[in-house]
């Protein structure tokens, strides 16, 4: 009987999710042709609705927090789940910022004429339907929904179950904004929460969904990559390095390393490993002392440990670890070539920085490092769509296909070739 009941429940979940997928596919055709003013009007109306419904959203969030109070959740997870008036205002401003961005759809990316008179243009179009799977961060509901609408895509959202009530209250505001602008509510839908099987159904819907974006920890992303029959835009790890060259300005190096590691330790652009040129050891002690003074645990290789008695020994696993915490590993390398070899072995193709006054060393580093973002004399914490001027981001892609680095509205597009002739036939 239990099995039969489960089978019935699965049928029901599958039926619901498939119907949502079909509705999203139909809506995508409408959104692809929606004009800029209408999309931006919806985004601004969403922001207004969030502000009007502040009390409702906070009450829903309180219910989520009460339900989560007995669960085994880390402090970071509880912090992400929490909403207050400032965070809701930040979501509203985020939607207004997306409205203010140029429309990524309908841009002529290139155009040319052929000797036979054919005129060819490559024009940006939406991807279609985007499935976004995330953990219990209710603000992602607004960010992802807004970015998908701006880029003319229908969104199928699947947030974590702990934030289900908060996300639903936010989604209600987004759909109110869609109605104000005369756009279909199915432009942004939320999958049934609280049943992991809904994700499995979603990942098999290759006819209805064009792209899956998982946003969360490694476990979530690996599950999605293993199960998905749909292309995945993934952000796997952010094992970012800052390499301090012997020709670095010592004061700049101190400032950059301290910021790159300690400004916020939980973000993917935080530096996890400090690479020190052998020739930088004369001034590197101060860099380490700054980190320790700021509360950072420092783990070093044998040579690095000579800089300060408080540096503990690093294990081999340290070089491949994304701490997301106040911990840093430090290795001494032989110049820029040593840094390149270390990073191309242990890096995660996310963000890598060099600090140096030597233009040739910088050029060599920036060319040879295989990463989405390479930086010269700047903090790796700038790895962020907003800091790049791209408006909001839905994540940072560590893959090389389609989008690399910060994924904003412009990266959620495809293109088509439009060919105008006057009767040409091919010889």
């Amino acid at each position: 009987m239990q099995r039969l009941a489960d089978a019935g429940q699965m049928d029901e979940i599958e039926r619901v999710v498939r119907a949502q997928g079909r509705a999203a596919r139909q809506t995508a055709a409408v959104l692809a042709l929606a004009d800029t003013a209408r999309k931006d009007r919806a985004l601004r109306a969403m922001a207004a609705s969030l502000r009007e419904n502040l009390a409702t959203i906070l009450a829903a969030n309180r219910r989520d927090e009460d339900a989560a109070s007995g669960k085994d959740m880390s402090g970071a997870m509880r912090d992400r789940l929490h909403l207050d008036a400032d965070r809701i205002e930040a979501m509203a401003r985020g939607l207004e910022a997306i409205a203010a961005l140029p429309d990524p759809i309908g841009r002529t990316l290139a155009s040319w004429a052929r000797p036979n008179g054919l005129k060819i243009a490559r024009v940006s179009v939406p991807l279609g339907v985007i499935g976004i799977i995330y953990e219990s961060r209710p603000n992602v509901t607004a960010d992802a929904g807004g970015l998908c609408l701006k880029s003319g895509n229908a969104a199928l959202l699947r947030g974590g179950s702990e934030s289900a009530q908060s996300s639903q209250a936010i989604l209600d505001c987004l759909q109110a904004g869609l109605r104000v602008a005369g756009l279909p509510e199915a432009a942004i839908q939320s999958l049934p929460a609280g049943d992991r099987r809904a994700v499995g159904v979603m990942l098999g819907m290759a006819e209805e969904i064009d792209l899956i974006i998982p946003r969360g920890g490694r476990g979530l992303i690996e599950r999605v990559m293993a199960e998905s029959r749909i292309p995945v835009l993934k952000h796997l790890d952010g094992i970012c390095h800052t390499y301090v060259d012997g020709a670095a300005d010592p004061a700049m190096a101190r400032r950059i390393v301290l910021n790159a590691k300690m400004r916020r330790t939980g973000v993917c652009g935080a530096t996890e490993t400090l690479l020190l040129d052998q020739k930088a050891l004369g001034f590197a002690g101060a860099i380490v002392a700054d980190l320790i003074a700021a509360g950072c645990v420092v783990r070093g290789d044998t040579m690095a440990q000579m800089l300060d008695p408080r540096i503990m020994a690093a294990s081999p696993a340290d070089w491949d670890t994304e701490y997301l915490d106040a911990i840093i590993s430090v290795a001494v390398v032989d110049g820029v070539e040593g840094a390149i070899a270390h990073i191309n072995c242990h890096g995660s193709h996310h963000t890598e920085a060099i600090v140096t006054e030597d233009a040739a060393a910088a050029a060599r580093f920036l060319a040879a490092i295989d990463a989405g973002i390479v930086m010269h004399n700047a903090s790796t914490q700038f790895a962020d769509g907003a800091e790049f001027g791209m408006g909001a981001e839905i994540g940072i892609s560590t893959g090389k296909l389609h989008a690399r680095g910060p994924v904003g509205a412009e990266q959620l597009t495809s293109f088509k070739y439009i060919v105008h002739g006057n009767g040409q036939v091919r010889p």
Copy 2:
């Protein structure tokens, strides 16, 4: 014993293919930094080597043809396997044409400055290692190897077993060209032929290979999509439509439809379904008569059948069939909206054309059709990288991610963000 022997053989194949993958990954780092002149020198030396080794290649092709003579192969397959002096000269010219293209690597795709002084540039880089799986078409060895080299990618080629000797003789010439330019031979490698398990190993090597491009029939592509742990750039079907609007120039419509269907029936850009506006029925009889006179079988819906007694009844499956043959299905639709509805239901997102003198109808069609290429008053047979002015192509992508439409050297690239600062830290 048999099982043990098989296991040992599998170990050996896996060992060989994995070693090739690692060599490709290492070589990719060299190719990414190779300058334009060196790559182009290699391409021209490859072309010269093909010409010098004409007799050797033809002899190898004869051995392939002899071995295939007893096998069950279609005439089209035998034709694709066959090489002669003209076809080898065409390969050599193709490589020279690739050499003459602008370098797709190192281009600044966009650049801007931020208020804090950070300078950001998006610069094109190679994808890394590309695996290409194709059937017994030896010319693909030269095309794919040349396009990958131009775009700074290492190539792992796996051609059909029937063309193994021909492909090896061509690969020898490509590697000779690499040596002339001082580039590593591992830039273009060929997997062991004649054992399908090598493909399985290849499709699991996500660490070593960045992209898989299958080039062949639907069976091959579906196997690759089902098994691959690596992103796939796919060309599934080419069910292309030509819609003749009531406002079409009748003479132009006749010329375009005849060419779109009959110029070459086996190419993916050939029109498979003709859609006739109800208002075009007055002049559509001549279009059908042209097709029949050229040897085309015509299958129509009830209304289309009234145009000519020689039109047979179409079955529902006809609307979803890529004939790749001298067969066409004909449906009568209610204006441009009817054409859009039919195509977005039955099309394969490849190439779709409208013939009309009505600019508004054309604009509506070009905007609403979800396909990689949309055409106005031109033959769908122009769906081809060379006809687009992109040089050689490795196929036409029917997916929306990364590359859509013809895939040439430019489409085999990714990008990185290069950020220059002068000590910026994030507030």
